[in-house]
Symmetry: D2
Subunit: 291 residues, 4 copies
C-alpha cells in the first residue's frame, strides 16, 4: 500500500508552529562499550524524542521517530555506543535527517546502570545508578549534549547533631546522633561536541559529596563504618549541592566556560513526611568566577 | 433511547465464571461526620468496586457501579458517613442490589486524611495519613468490613547503634548514633458488622510503635527531641510490627477472635538503596493465644 | 530553648549561591471560595516552596517554609482564597518576608478538583481535574503567577481513520472507525498581578479541544454519542494543542502580550505501548502576531 | 570484627511470630539462557525476598538476603538461569539454607523483557513485556513456582460498537467505530517443580486474546490493519480474561489439576477517566471441570 493517506502533510492556513512533537516512553535495549566496572553492556533505555513542526503542516510523522530508534539499536549491536549522551546525539542527528520540515530536534534518555563499588571495609558490592543522556540540535546550528547521573546516598543533619549535642551536653564528644536519610542527587552537564565528561566520574563526584554513599550489602562492621562516617561528615542538602559544584570546578579545568550544569539534592527527611531540596543551575564560567 | 443493545446480557455457552469484574481508580469526594480533630469533612476517595460474573453472562454492567458511587456521594451530602469502612460497606450492599446476577461484591477505598497532632514540646501540627476502607459481601451471607491506616513515621536501627557503641567504646553512654529513616506502617483489620474499630485509634497505635512519629514543623528544640526520642527507642521493622500487634491485643479485648489483621512495616533504609520489610497476617484469636 | 544552634547561619568563605532551596511534597488542605459548580471548598494541595540562598550562608531556614504554609492554611479558614494561583502568590510574598537573606521565591502547587459536568445527552456527572498554581517573586521586583489545569479527554486519530476509509473503501460514509485513547492536556499561563484567568475557563477550553471530553457515567446512548462525536472530530495531539492555542487567543483579547503559556497534549496511544506528544511554549503576543 | 553485636539474635519473651521479614526493591542484573527471539540475555530484575521469623527471635538477618542475591547473580554469569521462575526458586532454597531459624521463604521478582514480534503486514518489531517470577518454599515441604507475564495490548468495546451501529443504522456493515484503548493483561500460574510453563507461550496466549496486539512501529497500512482487526474482534475486559483462560486450558493438557492461576485484564478506558477491570482466580482443575 502506498501512502494515499497524507493527513499529516495536509496544509493549514491558520496553524501555529509547535515547539516539539514526538513520542514519549519508548523502551529500547542499546549495546554500549564495555569497561572493567561494567556489569551489563546492554542498557534498557527509556526514550523521548521530539522535533518541531512548522505552522503550515498539520502533523509530524511519528512513525519515523520509531524507525530512527530502531536503526540506532540495530547499529549498536555492530558498533556499541560510547555512552548514553552519544546515543542521544546520534538520534538527534537522524531525527533532523528524517524530518526534513523540522528545524530542531530533542532527545531525552534514561537508563538504569549497575557499577561495582566497595564498602568502607573493602567488600565488593554492586550499586544501581540512573544515567541521563540528552541532546538538542538546531538544523545548521550546534548540537548540544547533556550527560547526567542520578545517585542515591545518605545525609546526616548538621543542625540536629549540634542541637542534640547542646541539649545532652555532649558536644564535641564522639558519636553525637542526628537524623539521617536517603538523599537523591542529580547532576547534569550540557556541552557542545568538543567537550566531554564521563558518567562514571560524575557518579564518583556525587558519592564523595554525600555524608556517605550507600551499599547493597553491609555486614556489621561496614554498617557501623557507614553510620560513623556519615555522622563525622554531616551535610545539609545545600552542602551536597555545593560540594558537587566545587568538585566539578576542580575536576574539569579544561571544559569551556559556557558548559551549563544543574545540581540538585533532595533528602527524604526521616523526621518529616516531606522532603528537603536544594538546586543550582548555572554555567562553569559563572562558578569559576564567583567562588 | 432504550437498551436495544444488550451485548452484556448475551448468553455464553462456553463461558467461565469471573471472580471479579468492575471499575478501578474512580475518584469521588465524600462527606464524613465531623469530629474535633477533623480538618476537612470531605474526603477525596479513590475507589475500586467489583462484583462477580456468572459463566453464562458475557459482560458486567459497569455503568451501574458508577451510578451506585454517585448515589452514595449525593446521600453523604445529606447524611455524612460515619467512616470510610462504613462507606465501603454501604457501596457493597448497593452493588449486590444493582447487579442481580452477582453473588459477591468487593469495594476498596483509600483517602488522604489530615489530623491535628502535637510535637514533643507541645506545638500544634497538622499531619497527613492514608485511610483504607474495604468491604466484601456475599449475597445472603455476611458482610465484612476492613478499616485500615497507612502512617509515616521514623525508625532508628538498634543493631547499628549497638555496633557503633562497641566500635567507639561509648556503649551505654548517652547519644549513640545510628542510622534512621522513614518508615511506612500499614495496619488493617477485617471484621463483621458487630465489631468496630476507629481509624484514629489505629493511627495512635502505629505512631506510638515507631521509634518516633514525624512532624511537619519542628523548631530546633523539637527537632532535637524527636532525634533523641528515636535513639532512645531504636526499632527494627520487626519491632514496629510486634509493638503494633501488642497494642492492638491490649486495646481491643472486646473484639471477636476471628477478626483478621495485617500489620506491615517498611523502612526506606538510609544506608541502603533498598527497603527493609516485616509483616504479620493473623487473627486476633491467634495473637491472644500465642503471646 | 533559645537558638543556640545556628548551623544554618554559619558564614562560608567558599560557598556558591544556590538557585533554590526549600521543601517539596508538603500536603495541606486549603479553603477556597465557593462557586456554583464547586463540590468541595477545601482543596488538598501538594506544595513545593523555595527561596534562593546567598553564597556566604550555609543553610536555608526550612522550618520557616512550613510556618508560612501553616499560617496560610489557618488564614484560609477565615478568608477563603480566591484561587490556587492567588494562594501561590500569597505564599511567595510571605516567603520573602520570612527569609530576609533571599532575593527570589518560588511556589508550585497542585490539587485535585471536582467539577459538575453534563454528558452529551444532558445527564449530570462529576469530573476530576488537576489544578496547577505557581508563583515566582523577586525582591523589589515583579510577582508572577501561573494558573494551569491538567485535563483528561479523548482523541480519535484522523490518519488511521482516513487510511481505514481507503482500505475498506468506505471513505466519506458515516462511522469510519479509528484508534482512540486517553489524552492528557496541560495548559498553564504565566502573568503579572494585573492580568487574570479562571481555571474553570481553561478547563472548558481544553475540553472543547479534544475529540471528545470523557465522563464518569455513560449509559448506552451517551456512550454512543461520545464515540460518534469523537470520530466526527478526529484529532492528532498537534490538533489538540493548536485548538487550545486558538481558543486562548480568542478568549483573552484583553491580556498582555507578554503573558507566557505552555500547552501540552499527550495521547496514551491505544495501538502502541508508547505515547504521542505535542507542545507549544510561547507568549500571547507571539501567538497573536503569527496566526 | 566479629559479631559482638547480636541484637537480632536476642531472645524475646513476649514476641509474636512474623509471617515474613525481608528486603524489597533490590535491583540485580541476572544472566539468562539465550533463545532465538531474545534480544538481551541480561535481565534487570527487581527483587523482594522474605523469610518468616519465630516469636522468640528479635530480628531477621537481612544482610544474608543480599548475600544470597549476590551469589545467585555471580553464579548466573557462569551458568545462565533457565528462566525468571527458576531464579526465584533457586533464591528461595538458598534463603532457607541461610536463615536456619526460618520455616518459609518467599521471593517475588519482575523484569522488563524485549521480544521480537511482527506487525500484521510482516514487518519486524521489538516489543516490551514484564516477566514475573515468584517462588515460595516451606522447610521440608514443597517448593512452588509462579511464572507470569504482564502484556500491553488493545481492546475495542463490543457494546459501544453495537449501539453506534444502531444509532447510525449501519449495523452489520463494515467499519463500525467503537471506543478502544490500552489494555494491560496479567497472567500468572503457580505450580510445583514437576510442572512447567514458558513465559513466551503465555505472552503469545495473551496477545491473541486482545482485540489486537500493539506494536512499536506501524506504517500506515499496518496501522489500518491493527485498527480493522481490533474492530473485527471487539472485546470486553471479561472477554480478554475468558479467552486467556480458554487458551490456557487448551494449551496445557498435561499440567496438574492443582496448578493455580490468576488472569487479570484492565482497560484504560478512552471514554472514562477510570479503568475497567476483570479477574479470575482459580485452578486448572476447576477450569477443566466447569467449561
Amino acid at each position: 500500500m502506498t501512502n494515499r493517506c497524507d493527513v499529516q502533510n495536509r496544509k493549514l492556513d491558520t496553524g501555529f508552529r509547535l515547539t516539539k512533537v514526538g513520542v514519549t516512553g519508548v523502551k529500547k535495549p542499546v549495546r554500549i562499550k564495555r569497561d572493567e566496572n561494567l556489569v551489563n553492556d546492554i542498557l534498557n533505555c527509556t526514550i523521548d524524542v521530539f522535533v518541531d513542526l512548522p505552522a503550515e503542516q498539520r502533523g509530524s510523522h511519528l512513525s519515523r521517530n520509531l524507525e530512527v530508534l530502531r536503526e540506532i539499536v540495530d547499529e549498536s549491536v555492530e558498533r556499541p555506543v560510547a555512552g548514553i549522551e552519544t546515543l542521544a546525539a546520534d538520534i538527534c542527528r537522524k531525527l533532523l535527517n528524517r524530518h526534513d520540515y523540522a528545524d530542531t530536534a530533542e532527545v531525552v534518555l534514561t537508563a538504569e546502570y549497575f557499577r561495582k563499588s566497595r564498602t568502607p571495609n573493602g567488600r565488593e558490592t554492586l550499586e544501581l545508578y540512573t544515567l541521563i543522556g540528552e541532546s538538542t540540535a538546531v538544523r545548521g546550528g550546534p548540537l548540544m549534549r547533556t550527560i547526567g547521573v542520578k545517585v542515591i546516598g545518605m545525609t546526616a543533619c548538621p543542625c540536629a547533631q549540634e542541637t542534640v549535642g547542646d541539649v545532652l551536653d555532649c558536644k564535641g564528644k564522639v558519636a553525637v546522633m542526628s537524623h539521617n536519610q536517603r538523599n537523591i542527587c542529580t547532576v547534569s552537564m550540557t556541552m557542545g561536541e568538543t567537550d566531554n565528561v564521563e558518567a562514571n566520574d560524575l557518579i564518583s563526584i556525587v558519592e564523595s559529596s554525600f555524608s556517605s554513599p550507600t551499599y547493597e550489602i553491609l555486614k556489621r562492621d561496614d554498617e557501623a563504618a557507614v553510620v560513623i562516617n556519615a555522622h563525622n561528615n554531616p551535610k545539609f542538602v545545600e552542602d551536597v549541592v555545593r560540594d558537587v559544584l566545587k568538585r566539578i570546578v576542580d575536576r574539569y579545568p579544561g571544559l569551556h566556560d559556557d558548559v551549563r550544569l544543574t545540581v540538585r539534592s533532595e533528602s527524604e527527611e526521616s523526621i518529616h513526611k516531606h522532603n528537603a531540596f536544594a538546586e543550582r543551575r548555572t554555567t562553569l564560567g559563572d562558578l569559576r568566577m564567583h567562588r
